[in-house]
């Protein structure tokens, strides 16, 4: 699904973002991307959704070489990739519905269907009841869930999460983590960039470690998160839980 071949990204100032990285991520996989600040995590994600172009090497997404994708084709690729950021990137003057429904609006759906789709997606993240609220009226965890709903609204094959729990306290981080794991269980490939080693250790799965732009480590880690979850009786954060 996602393949990188000898990918290097050097920024105009000369800084090295990524250095000769080669790897494959299978469809439906959950991958943690870790490393210190500046190790290249954000660059890695940006290269996949074509915010950046590699200086060298090739990137294949669903068999399509996106490293040389013409500018006018990039929007169509992005419609198949959901992206979530640490700072949520919600528009404060827009309601939750308007924040979530950007893509349906771009695709030309009428308002009724936009609302229906937004409601369904917000229900998946447990926020359908806040559809008319403004971001400022939501907690950090709720804002991140709105951002995740925005990323999920077109049922993307890939979800890229760039430090999605970085601005949240441990309890809310747990909530978002559970949500992303749930999304992965439904078949979406999730790449979760974080420098939170504790979180990675608890969840397990495949972990890619970047150091100074190079892929320093690529291993499967066993985790205790699922067994702990099974012990819990509380449901995952869905609308039913609210």
């Amino acid at each position: 699904m996602i393949e990188l071949y000898n990918v290097t990204k050097r920024y105009p100032g000369g800084q090295l973002g990524l250095s000769d990285v080669s790897l494959k991520i299978a469809k439906g996989q959950l991958v943690f991307l870790t490393g210190a600040s500046g190790a290249g995590k954000s660059t890695f994600l940006k290269l996949i959704y074509c915010e950046e172009v590699p200086t060298e090497g090739n990137i294949l997404v669903n068999g399509r070489n996106v490293s040389s994708l013409p500018r006018n084709k990039i929007p169509y690729l992005r419609r198949t990739i959901g992206v979530v950021f640490q700072n949520f990137r919600l528009i404060p003057r827009k309601t939750v519905f308007e924040n979530v429904a950007y893509l349906p609006r771009i695709l030309g759906l009428d308002r009724k269907n936009q609302k229906k789709l937004a409601y369904e997606t917000l229900r998946q993240v447990g926020l359908a009841h806040r559809i008319n609220a403004f971001p400022v009226q939501l907690s950090g965890g709720e804002q991140q869930r709105v951002a995740i709903a925005r990323a999920l609204i077109n049922q993307p094959e890939i979800l890229l999460a760039d430090e999605p729990t970085g601005n949240l306290d441990p309890e809310l981080s747990e909530e978002i983590l559970r949500l992303l794991l749930d999304i992965n269980l439904r078949g979406t490939t999730v790449i979760f960039a974080t420098h939170d080693r504790d979180l990675i250790t608890r969840v397990g799965h495949r972990v890619l470690t970047l150091r100074e732009g190079s892929l320093a480590d690529d291993r499967e880690l066993p985790g205790s998160f699922y067994s702990q979850e099974a012990d819990k009786t509380g449901p995952a954060p869905s609308e039913e839980a609210h």
């Binding site: 995590k41 915010e51 500018r71």
Partner: protein, 313 residues
């Protein structure tokens, strides 16, 4: 998304932008209004003056003043010569009595100037009417010069000189219209461009999100282009509306000859629509010029990520 849906979306967003930033939008619209209004004034005056000159030129005559002692046969020969001339329409002999009557009618306050002369002070003349084409013929001057050599001719007078001078004034006015209009329109384009750039800057967070979720450049830029176009069209319409109002008032209220000449006819429909379209075009060009790739680009697109830290790496 179909083109109709896209246009509906662009219109809604453009109108919202105009309403949200109504103060700066109003500034842009007024700049366009002033520039097109002044251009319209120059066009209106020059068109009306040009029409008056054309009318005068069509009615202009060549007047051949005859020597007081000229014999009837010589005058008849001259008349025959005139009838054979290219572009001839008609010729009339104005005798001294008719000449005096005309003078007294045209200048009643100066009628007494003609009193006390031993003989009639005004000479006989032949009034020659020529076709418009002939009047505009550059060879006419040479032919008139040859007439002046005729022994029965005292003087030949035609209106071409002062009509040519008036036409030069019209040309200058039209040149001024182009120059002033051009400068003001460039200013208006710059204003619209700045307003659109400011709007795009204010909404760049939203633009970044739209780009992130897969909006095309057409979808992102469309509302801004339409906003510029609307500002130009509204400004152009206001300019024509103001010009028409002032024209109507001037025409109905003023009795002066100058006003009746300069404000006899309003701009044609095509000229009026052309000015409005020019406003729209200026707005669109201003919007296109303001929205370079860099203006809409997220601020750190070509820089290292926000968490970049040399020490950490």
């Amino acid at each position: 998304m179909t083109l109709v849906q896209a246009l509906a979306y662009f219109t809604r967003e453009a109108l919202l932008n105009l309403v949200r930033g109504w103060k700066v939008s109003l500034l842009a619209i007024l700049t366009i209004t002033v520039s097109l209004f002044l251009t319209g004034v120059f066009l209106l005056v020059s068109n009306n003056l040009g029409a008056v000159i054309d009318g005068w030129r069509a009615e202009s005559k060549v007047v051949i003043y005859l020597e007081p002692g000229a014999e009837s046969q010589a005058i008849a020969d001259l008349e025959e010569t005139l009838r054979q001339a290219p572009g001839y329409e008609r010729v009339a002999l104005i005798d001294v009595v008719t000449a005096r009557q005309r003078f007294e009618q045209a200048f009643p306050s100066m009628a007494d100037l003609l009193e006390g002369w031993g003989e009639e002070p005004l000479p006989r003349s032949l009034e020659l009417s020529l076709t418009t084409e002939r009047l505009q013929d550059p060879n006419l001057g040479t032919w008139l010069e040859s007439l002046r050599q005729n022994p029965v001719v005292m003087m030949v007078d035609d209106d071409r000189d002062w009509l040519d001078q008036l036409e030069a004034v019209v040309l200058v006015l039209r040149g001024l219209a182009l120059m002033v209009g051009g400068i003001l329109l460039a200013t208006a384009m710059f204003t619209i461009s700045s307003v659109i750039r400011l709007t795009a800057y204010l909404y760049r967070d939203e633009i970044a999100v739209m780009r992130l979720v897969g909006a095309t450049e057409f979808f992102i830029r469309g509302p801004f282009y339409l906003e510029g176009l609307l500002q130009g069209l509204v400004g152009g319409s206001l300019a024509i509306g103001s010009l028409w109002t002032i024209f109507s008032v001037a025409k109905s209220q003023s009795t002066s000859l100058l006003t009746s000449i300069l404000a006899s006819e309003f701009l044609t429909w095509s000229s009026s629509l052309g000015l409005v379209a020019l406003g729209g075009l200026a707005g669109l060009v201003g919007a296109v010029a303001s929205l370079s790739r860099e203006t809409l680009e997220s601020p750190k697109a070509e820089e290292p990520p926000a968490d970049w830290n040399e020490e950490d790496s």
